[in-house]
């Protein structure tokens, strides 16, 4: 899909805005399954910071992702009562359920096409390939991360890692960050 087509698609449909750190982000409402109140998160030893937890969503074990990692945002501890957006995303060719952390969730809205633009390839701190568009909402900038691209890149980074020779492989300390700088 061309950038413009993607912008049109975003502008034409509902998005859910939420706050993460100092930023306002948005994801397509069609991908959102539910918003969870704070729940118990299980730490996954050895996992990448991007997906360091698991949670129970109605009997399913769902990975929890922190978008601050691919978006290179500072990562202080979350607010005391973070919300979790449960999304349905294409992952490795299948629709998968993943959770993403938000400090708070705002509202379902429609972003004005005029306010939307692709981010410039230089001069922003976002990795351009991880951001579908930026727009304006309630007087603030809102960033629409390209979630399929972010997860696809993470997965290919994992599969691309050379398999360790032999059979040892238990709980390796985290391998190099898959989201390195370009």
């Amino acid at each position: 899909m061309t950038r413009n087509a993607r912008l049109d698609a975003i502008a034409g449909s509902d998005v859910v805005t939420f706050r993460l750190g100092d930023e306002v982000l948005a994801v397509p409402a069609a991908e959102l399954r539910e918003v969870l109140e704070p729940v118990a998160i299980t730490r996954v030893p050895g996992a990448d910071d991007f997906v360091s937890g698991l949670l129970n969503v109605r009997g399913a074990v769902v990975p929890l992702a922190d978008l601050r990692v691919p978006l290179r945002m500072p990562r202080p501890a979350h607010r005391a009562d973070p919300r979790i957006l449960v999304l349905e995303l294409p992952l490795a060719g299948q629709v998968a359920v993943v959770g993403i952390v938000a400090d708070s969730v705002h509202e379902v809205t429609r972003l004005d096409r005029g306010s939307l633009q692709a981010i410039p390839p230089v001069g922003t701190r976002w990795p351009p390939r991880h951001v579908a568009a930026v727009g304006r909402w309630a007087g603030e900038f809102v960033t629409i991360p390209d979630l399929p691209a972010i997860f696809a890149e993470f997965l290919s980074g994992q599969n691309g890692r050379p398999a360790p020779a032999g059979t040892s492989g238990a709980a390796h300390p985290t391998e190099p960050e898959p989201f390195g700088c370009d």
């Binding site: 349905e88 294409p90 629709v95």
Partner: protein, 122 residues
Amino acid sequence: MPSNILVVDDSPSVRNMIANTLKAAGYAVDTAVDGEDALEVSRRRPVHAVITDQNMPRLDGLGFCRAFRARPENRGVPVVFLSTESEASVKEKARQAGAIGWMIKPFDQQKLLDVIGRVVRA
């Protein structure tokens, strides 16, 4: 030109699964998120068959089916409902609204192709 099937369901995963299955079997596929959307989509491009869910926001499957049937160009275009077993009464209404039949959820991909193959060929 492949037959064009309109898939109407508000669940992205169900929609996706059906659409991918049909595409892989050689059909062309349009998708819509609810009945309103489906009426809109079917105006843009002729469809040769419709698969629709019943419970959807804005306009449900029955409402869609009646409105769809009311348009003369849609005569003879088969509409297949997706339904859960508990909705037995819906089947009768679906028939009256102009649906040719229904498929019980859940179904697997082979079942889907088997059923669709009875109303339209790729």
